[in-house]
């Protein structure tokens, strides 16, 4: 016996021959390599060491020295690491299965986002070629940049061992480096390729910072826009805060749209329509905010399914909204006019047009107006009534009679329905001697929905008739007639001429 070595195995001390020691050391190293990177590997290694200690103990008695034969006998009992796989005790289940290759971004070989590194691993080619390709295409049309950016966002990072295995493909295609890291099998194709890679790496760092800065700016813009838009929507739609859509400015007034909706659609459909509108409008804004936050902080989230589900909900909301709206729209398919005429018993030489009920007297705060006040609707939520502003026309009468014509127009499911709708419009008009008293608006009775209702009053007067209008009547007249009449004459007298109403020169 030349030399013996003392070793500690599984907490027990052994004397061992030098050649036996080398054999044992190689064996333990092989075991260690096999299990080190497997889940629970250290425990397995420890278990095997305990077992080896036990076998040695039973072989030598307590006094003896472990010989090469003892180690060989032990190995034949415990088995070589290669044999474990044969018997189905492989450290890693993946070792047996061929892995389906997938495209990932490669964190081990990255210049900017690891896109080319990932493609290289997938194609088992030096990524430098793909980098050159992207640069070339970036100079033509900038296409390369967009494709790169899209891939950067779309491809997941191979950030776990199983993903790396999928990225590199089968275990045959990869080697383990000294410290157990997976490394690609391909080698850098040439020295030039190597140098080019280095240059790209340096360039990449700069480019990475630029791209990140752009993404952060873009993300901030998205978050702010989305947030403002959402806030505006909520303020207008939920809190009815007019803001930019104030009634005072000329233009479409949207702030009372949700209230108005109640009167436009059938009561059963109203909550659905409101809910769906909320979804259809707010989902893209929320997506903008979330997308922006992701761009800013650049985190990876497994939110693919959430995006998909949200998209599905959004598309379905649009579809549902379209169907409901279409269904409601069928109720406005036809429109029809009804006309009724009242004659003056005696033709007045001067006609006084005086307003009866005025919009300004109404207790209706909710107003929807279409540009230039051409069409105004007001809603009284307590009485559940809708008021539509009347339009006034004054025309010369071809004969020699004086009359007032009331035209009501409404829409409906069919013509009969439209006529019924037109006839439900309540309007107050009264002729007494030289006085024509008319309301500024017509009323849509409660429990009846708005259906594009309009009401015109046409006054027909023979030529030469002097006509007086009070302020409101004049505004009704003006609002309809888009011509150059003086808006506010000091004396409110007009005269009927062959061509229509004309401003009466005040007598000096």
């Amino acid at each position: 016996m030349d030399k013996t070595i003392k070793i500690n195995l599984g907490g027990t001390l052994f004397q061992i021959d030098e050649d036996a020691y080398k054999m044992l050391r190689d064996y333990l190293q092989a075991i260690d390599r096999k299990f080190r990177n497997a889940p629970g590997g250290n425990e397995t290694i420890e278990d095997i060491e305990f077992r080896i200690a036990e076998i040695f103990q039973s072989q030598k008695g307590t006094a003896g020295v472990i010989s090469k034969e003892n180690v060989e006998a032990m190995i034949s009992v415990v088995g070589k690491p290669e044999d474990f796989d044969q018997e189905g005790g492989g450290a890693n289940a993946y070792d047996h299965y061929s892995v389906r290759k997938k495209l990932y971004r490669n964190p081990d070989d990255r210049v900017i986002g690891g896109v080319c590194g990932g493609i290289g691993a997938f194609a088992e080619t030096d990524p430098v070629w793909f980098r050159i390709l992207f640069i070339v295409f970036a100079f033509g049309f900038g296409l390369g940049l967009f494709v790169y950016l899209a891939l950067w966002i779309a491809l997941p990072l191979a950030d776990s061992p199983s993903r790396k295995r999928e990225m590199y493909g089968n275990s045959a295609n990869q080697l383990r480096s000294q410290d157990g890291e997976l490394i690609p099998r391909y080698e850098t194709t040439s020295r030039i390729g190597n140098a080019t890679n280095e240059v790209f790496r340096a360039l990449g760092k700069v480019l990475f910072i630029i791209v990140r800065t752009i993404l952060i700016i873009l993300g901030t813009a998205l978050v702010l826009t989305g947030f403002m838009a959402l806030l505006t929507f909520i303020m207008v739609f939920v809190f009815e805060y007019p803001g930019a859509f104030s009634t005072n400015i000329e233009g479409v007034n949207l702030s009372y749209l949700p209230d108005f909706l109640n009167y436009v659609v059938s009561p059963a459909a109203a909550p659905w329509i409101k809910g769906l509108i909320t979804l259809v409008v707010s989902i893209p804004f929320l997506a903008m905010i979330y997308g922006g936050i992701r761009l800013i902080f650049w985190f990876r989230a497994r939110d693919g399914y959430v995006w998909l589900a949200t998209l599905v909900i959004w598309v379905m909301s649009i579809a549902a909204l379209s169907i409901i709206t279409f269904n409601e729209g069928v109720g406005f398919a036809e429109n029809e006019k009804t006309t009724s005429t009242e004659y003056f018993s005696t033709v007045p030489d001067t006609l006084y047009i005086v307003t009866g009920k005025k919009l300004s007297d109404l207790n209706a705060e909710n107003e929807i107006s279409i540009p230039d006040n051409e069409y105004r609707v007001m809603i009284d939520d307590d009485k559940k009534e809708v008021y539509v502003r009347t339009r006034l026309m004054i025309n010369p009468d071809e004969g020699n009679s004086a009359s007032v014509e009331i035209k009501r127009r409404s829409s409906g499911r069919n013509r009969l329905d439209a006529i019924e709708n037109a006839e439900r419009l309540q309007y107050g008009l009264n002729i007494s001697g030289k006085k024509l008293i008319l309301d500024e608006f017509c009323t849509i009775p409660p429990d009846s929905r708005w259906s594009f209702d309009e009401l015109w009053v046409t006054v027909n007067m023979p030529e030469g008739t002097i006509i007086f209008m009070d302020r409101t009547a004049e505004s009704m007249f003006h609002s309809w007639h888009d011509d150059d009449f003086v808006t506010d004459s000091k004396n409110r007298f007009w005269v009927m001429t062959e061509d229509g109403l004309d401003y009466l020169e005040p007598d000096n």
Binding site: T12, T44, E54, Q57, V77, F84
Partner: protein, 108 residues
């Protein structure tokens, strides 16, 4: 097709099933399990068993306790957990189905 690979895969599942079956009778020291498996010629070398035991233990199917031994280092005594018993019951059923299916096909 690699015959050795196919065999190894077939054995792998069966081996895990066998370990659980041995432990279902009573709690055992690793050597007892090895002896039974060797007798049944399911395994040849002992080293096969240890990674499987670790994996099953980490999956919550097994638990162990340390027991002092008169000779040598302390020993791990393995036993099935409640989850392990359920798992085994499942495997029992699917084993019977498998045998039935394979026999059905082979006897045609």
């Amino acid at each position: 097709m690699d015959l050795e690979n196919t065999k190894a895969q077939m054995r792998k599942g069966i081996l895990e099933y066998c370990i659980l079956s041995v432990l279902s009778r009573n709690s055992c020291y690793a050597s007892d399990i090895i002896r039974e498996l060797k007798e049944a010629r399911v395994i040849v070398v002992e080293g096969t068993l240890y990674p499987l035991l670790t994996r099953q233990k980490n999956a919550g199917l097994l638990s162990y306790r340390w027991e002092e031994s008169q000779q040598g280092p302390p020993r791990k005594y393995y036993e099935l957990t409640a989850e392990g018993r359920e798992y085994l019951a499942d495997l029992d059923r699917s084993w019977e189905e498998l045998v039935e299916s394979v026999n059905l096909i082979r006897s045609k």
